[in-house]
Symmetry: C2
């Protein structure tokens, strides 16, 4: 009886990581050469039992020097697959450590679509050398994959297709399939083409397997097919995979000829990248960072958002500067103003997140902005009266001036209304201008509610309190 | 020649939505009864051609009254599937509009695992009635699925399994499969069990199809199987699906007996929910909101984070209050202090996002916190000197006091260092205490950098400038 692995969850993976770290430490401690070599051999064995994706995970979790030590041990076997799995930041460090001939060897193991993914990160010399070894069909595939921009379906499709004609029996198809050494990964359907190579249907394996062998493919195949064109956006395809529970789907050109296919594993990666960049952008990070990147690299990655933030903070500071005279007369204003700005920022971020998501999922049409604005305004007025009232009472109690509390109430309500307005307006405008409504939305709304909040509060105070 | 649908992307879907909206408007405009009924019929036809997931999408994008109008037209056919597809918030509105007998009819269409998903939202009476109609095996499955907590693998697995023995030939398997009307959706492998129902391998369809029919299953099957246990967390399973490019995977109990399976479409939904709740939490929203929810519902959803934000803003306000005397003497402090607090918040959010993500992906061990802290400190010192220097110069130019510029430089550097420290410390502590490090991380770090920033800046100013 063979043994089945019971579990391959996060727990197990971090055990592997801990084991690798223990071995590396052991290696560093051994002064004696032979003993150190022994440990390295154990490490190598340990690594050999792991899936390329697991090794990629371990490489990501190690600081640079330890990462390269591990990479030395594994790169001769599965380096191509591992390079595909690691993040861009870590891939760079690995490729830097490799000799050109090692890179050529790694690239040779890859399919053309995988090679296309990696080509941008490899030295040009290496790409040319590997390209020279491809046959004509492969070279065409590679060039086609390279010709589509990042983020398009064309850049993600692969070319491992099983194609059949509609006018054969299922029996013939089964016999045809048996001639393969193996079917391409993630094959859940076979593509049915007519004489002009135009896609006329798909034959899901689950239909093929239950069909009577005598039946013709044309009777069994599905003709309602979700298909894509290479120029379309990958994120739209990922949404379609999610919506229709697809495992693979054909990519066709304008006349319907089959040119490639998409698989769910690629789409899962697209979804992951989309949501990652959403979170990273919200936090003001340009892209995924290598956790152990040199300080300089991290500074570069975080630079641009900090600079933007600083500019908006400076504007807010000048707004306050314009009211220095008022603050001088009533210093309580300085203590209370961050509350007005803060709650506006929080509430505005809530609104803008809702709207950006609805726009991204295509659930909100620009025509509905008016309706949603009224709703958000309603929410903000309620929140303003409740929270503004509470803080107004506290301000009254603290500083003993009812009028100060009333100004606080009014300013908070008005700033929340501003937040609601800008929260609907900014993403709608961005969308209308053809920009990505998510990018920088958090920074923009906070800029509005900070400067706006200071202006409203200090302005009202100047009018009514001084 | 049958026609193949060429495209089913976002564009197409929003066309359907626009068409539905046009028909609804037309319906509202028609005073005459017969004409209105005609339009409704057209609407119904239009809807019938759509996939349940597409109808779900349209329902999400419509305001409540229009949503219920559409729901009336579709609910008799695919209501069960549609209810599964819509978000929790929208599902509630749909279920509210249905009679108990309609709900029973809808629930009857579902598999036991789908029924389990929906059970929490259905009136108890309806669940009992449907349960009474299940056979014993189904009832057991339902109870088992309901017994696992939300977010566990047990709550997500389904029971549509194709099981075979290892000691038969592939020919026999092929014949056995032909007796099915159809194979379960997302079937990419068949589960191989021994006499004790213990999983001893899986037979991928892609291996079965290329195998010699004479070969025994035991020779063809894969014995290294990624399998899960029902108590494990769904998010770990989703990561494993992503890492190993799985389409389906077995769920087994402690002794290895097969009890269910996971499929990639469920895992994609888990990934989506995970990343959604990450973004929503960052923005201070408790959960996904129905875009057209009544104002009161929205207020409730946003209430808790606003309250927390208000408390932290109030603390920051009291920190400033403690320095009112200093501000009174040098009012420029009031204008400059938000810059110090703001850049600290931005930088702290960058750090904490990095750390939270690394912890969530299992790429950071608590033991590395020390090392990462030193790195983040390095980043913050560089940023502090650069940006603090720039703003210090501007402050010097604006207010004509070199010492004010120097205090600005020092305060910004110190606050960035505080941000880096708390950005590493907070999530590491949360993780050590067994809490979710993501929850509230943004609010906590901003609270630290606001109050801390005001304290550092006003404290330094009080010491050196007054």
């Amino acid at each position: 009886m063979t043994v089945v692995e019971k579990k391959q969850t996060a727990e197990r993976l971090s055990e592997s990581l801990a084991e690798v770290q223990r071995l590396i430490e052991l290696h560093h401690e051994r002064d004696e050469r032979a003993a150190a070599a022994n440990v390295l051999q154990e490490l190598e064995q340990r690594l050999q039992s792991l899936h390329p994706a697991d090794i990629a995970y371990i490489l990501e979790a190690l600081p640079l020097d330890e990462r390269l030590l591990v990479w030395e041990r594994v790169k001769s076997q599965q380096d191509g697959d591992i390079l595909l799995e690691v993040s861009d930041a870590v891939r760079e460090t690995l490729i830097e450590s490799m000799e050109p001939d090692e890179l050529v060897a790694a690239a040779r193991q890859l399919d053309t679509d995988e090679l296309a993914d990696l080509a941008g990160d490899l030295p040009r010399q290496v790409v040319y050398e590997v390209m020279g070894e491809l046959d004509e069909a492969e070279r065409e595939q590679l060039q086609s994959a390279l010709s589509y921009p990042e983020g398009s379906i064309g850049a993600l499709m692969d070319f491992e297709l099983v194609k059949i004609r509609a006018d054969v029996s299922c029996e013939v198809v089964l016999r045809y399939l048996r001639r393969f050494d193996e079917l391409p990964h993630q094959t859940d359907k076979i593509f049915v083409l007519d004489a002009q190579e135009v896609l006329c249907g798909v034959l899901p394996l689950r239909s093929l397997l239950v069909a009577d062998p005598e039946q013709m493919v044309s009777e069994v195949m599905a003709t309602e097919v979700v298909s894509f064109q290479p120029e379309d956006e990958a994120r739209d395809a990922a949404l379609a995979f999610e919506r229709y529970d697809l495992v693979s789907a054909p990519v066709v050109d304008e006349r319907g000829a089959l040119i490639g296919r998409l698989t769910v594993d690629e789409m899962v990666d697209v979804m992951r990248e989309e949501s990652d960049s959403e979170v990273l952008n919200l936090a003001g990070l340009k892209e995924e960072e290598d956790l152990f990147a040199p300080v300089v690299d991290s500074v570069k990655n975080r630079w641009s958002w900090l600079a933007i933030n600083l500019c908006t903070a400076f504007v807010a500071s000048r707004v306050i500067g314009a009211f220095e005279h008022s603050i001088n007369q009533l210093v309580a204003l300085a203590a209370l103003m961050p509350i007005v700005a803060g709650i506006g920022g929080n509430s505005g971020n809530q609104t803008i997140t809702m709207i950006v998501r609805a726009l991204a999922m295509g659930q909100m049409q620009i025509g509905q902005a008016w309706r949603l604005w009224r709703k958000e305004l309603g929410v903000s007025i309620i929140n303003g009266l409740v929270w503004g009232g509470a803080i107004g009472l506290i301000a009254w109690a603290l500083y003993g001036r009812l009028s100060l509390g009333l100004v606080m109430l009014a300013a908070m309500t008005l700033n929340l209304m501003l937040a609601a307005t800008m929260g609907v307006l900014i993403p709608s405008l961005m969308q209308k201008l053809g920009r990505d409504p998510a990018l920088g939305s958090s920074v923009l709304i906070t800029a509005c509610t900070d400067s706006g909040g200071f202006f409203i509060f200090l302005g009202l105070a100047t009018l009514f309190l001084l």
